[in-house]
Subunit: 195 residues, 2 copies
């Protein structure tokens, strides 16, 4: 079964490689549409749109398409990717000294050898607690280049680890893909196929 | 200030590099002696012995020596590094489907430009929950090579991520060094030096 990642994120591909899953990247070009502002629903909707878009463009059978979307939620506000250093600093300021939530939504579309499709979606939440930061630390981090392509303006797998007090949940979920839960779900799908 | 890591672990050097701290490795050759079987005390004792041994061998001033030791504790039993694939399988079997604790002890010896020394020790705990695993998964993982140089016979930063349900605490602590707490403690030491 060929595994296709409907996301251009090199971090997601790396996480899948870590648990031994080789994937091909086919980024989705879908116009993202959101009908809710509840973080766990937003990420599931977006992951589904990406996975469906990519699956529709592939003619082959015996494939598994993985769509994923990650958002950071701080005091009820969803933080996307920052557009500027100033915006990054503003986001980091919201996170410093507090606990926020990271949600990743995942949709798996499995198409078997006969072309029959099965779709599974789920979302995973991780709480992340950040140490208090000085204004200099916030500005230095915002300007270090790491925040620009990341939801919530930080990379837990980068320099921002210095400011992480602890998490509750799956670490890889914060990086962008909950590989533990994902592995369990893929196992279930594979077992079901051979029943 | 030159930072010296009293541990040959490439993972610890990498974690320090992640938060921007360049370190020189000087592994300790001390005969490890433990006077307790309480995990959080064991790791502090061992980290202190390593840091003191290495600091004693260095003549220079203006240095920071970091000693660290990590153990895995499952239902009150301390798990070290496995000696064989069978021992690795036995350890993994103890962890599967349950929550265990990872403790890292850290000792910082800071010697200032005048040769005055200050020592700080602490330990950090992270709870790690592992999904249930089949006997085949346990045997395959035990034999995959990853477990052999790791306390508790697993690497959370490797293939074992597939079996991690979640953690509570600092992720880097499970890898071998609590970089968040460490950064905060180094900051305190540096500020105190320039008071």
């Amino acid at each position: 079964m060929k595994i296709i990642l409907a996301s251009a994120s090199p971090r997601r591909k790396e996480l899948l490689g870590q648990i031994g899953l080789e994937t091909e990247i086919v980024p989705s070009k879908v116009e993202e549409q959101v009908t809710t502002d509840i973080p766990e629903d937003v990420v599931v909707e977006l992951s589904r749109q990406k996975a469906e878009d990519v699956a529709a463009g592939i003619q082959e059978n015996d494939i598994l398409v993985i769509g994923a979307d990650t958002v950071v939620s701080a005091s009820g506000k969803i933080l996307g990717k920052p557009g500027s250093v100033e915006e990054a600093a503003e986001m980091i300021r919201r996170l410093a000294g507090k606990t926020h939530q990271v949600y990743t939504g995942v949709t798996l579309i499995c198409r078997d050898q006969q072309g029959r499709e099965k779709t599974v979606s789920f979302s995973e939440k991780t709480d992340v607690s950040v140490y208090p930061m000085s204004e200099k630390e916030i500005m230095d981090y915002a300007a270090c280049g790491e925040p620009m392509d990341k939801a919530g303006a930080y990379g837990i797998q980068g320099k921002f680890a210095a400011y992480i007090q602890g998490i509750q949940g799956d670490y890889s979920n914060v990086v962008g893909l909950p590989v533990g839960r994902l592995y369990q779900e893929i196992k279930k799908i594979r077992e079901a196929r051979y029943d």
